[in-house]
């Protein structure tokens, strides 16, 4: 039986992206980004334990344009995943699941994550 010609139900590519769709996929993307960032975090700890020569190579790698972009990216990923994670915990109690509420909390999370990232780098500098 040939199933290839069956009509398919509309999927991701057909819809105009509501903001809640973007926040959902961004939660996963920032999670995966931090899983990779975890390697660098462990690298920082491990290189510190390995002595100044190894550690200074780590510092030099982070002190490049790519290194700085990655660090800013990981800090945003953390604050986004944190904010949206709390949004998920609120949902788990059954609250805030109406369409208007979810849209409002999506924008709230986006603004909060940007503000927290800016505050982090402001305190750090």
């Amino acid at each position: 039986m040939n199933n290839n010609d069956r009509p398919l139900s509309p999927h991701l590519s057909i819809y105009r992206w509501p903001i809640t769709m973007a926040t959902s996929i961004l939660h996963r993307a920032t999670g995966v980004a931090m899983a990779i960032g975890f390697i660098v975090l462990v690298g920082w700890l491990f290189d510190a334990a390995s002595g100044p020569v190894v550690y200074n190579k780590f510092l030099a790698a982070m002190d490049t344009t790519i290194g700085c972009v990655l660090l800013v990216g990981w800090s945003y990923a953390f604050f986004y995943h944190l904010s949206n994670g709390i949004r998920h915990l609120v949902w788990d109690t059954g609250r805030g699941l109406e369409k208007e509420q979810a849209t409002a909390s999506a924008w709230f999370v986006i603004v909060t994550s940007v503000v927290l990232t800016a505050a982090f780098w402001w305190v750090a500098s």
Partner: protein, 126 residues
């Protein structure tokens, strides 16, 4: 009439044999990471510097060492749970899925052990 055995009802694991264990573990480790992560972000932002001696002093300080151990282990666990779901969602071939899941577990355990070793080495001053 329920066809479920008394044991099945008590275990509450359902047809997937996993129950809500994964979901609940992800929430609890996530809540722990919210606190540990904010502490770590604040510590990084307020560190006096990032020279080797600065880093060694920070990691070796007892309370920092304990919190860093908790952060590393919890993050490895939470990350494993998250990456597991991503692999299960996107890798459809059974064999490749199994291999990816095992490799992901190896990698996460390796990272956790490497972090524990480094922190203890600096904390105990070997």
């Amino acid at each position: 009439m329920s066809l479920r055995s008394p044991l099945g009802r008590v275990l509450g694991l359902g047809s997937a044999k996993d129950g809500t264990g994964h979901w609940w573990s992800q929430r609890v480790s996530g809540a722990a990471l919210a606190l540990l992560g904010l502490w770590f972000a604040w510590s990084l932002a307020t560190m006096s510097g990032f020279s080797h001696s600065d880093a060694v002093a920070f990691i070796g300080q007892p309370l920092n060492a304990v919190l860093l151990l908790l952060l590393s282990v919890t993050m490895a666990y939470h990350s494993y749970l998250g990456v597991q779901v991503v692999i299960e969602d996107y890798v459809h071939s059974h064999g490749l899925k199994l291999v990816s899941l095992v490799l992901s577990r190896f990698a996460h355990v390796f990272l956790a052990v490497a972090a524990i070793y480094a922190i203890l080495r600096l904390g105990i001053g070997a």
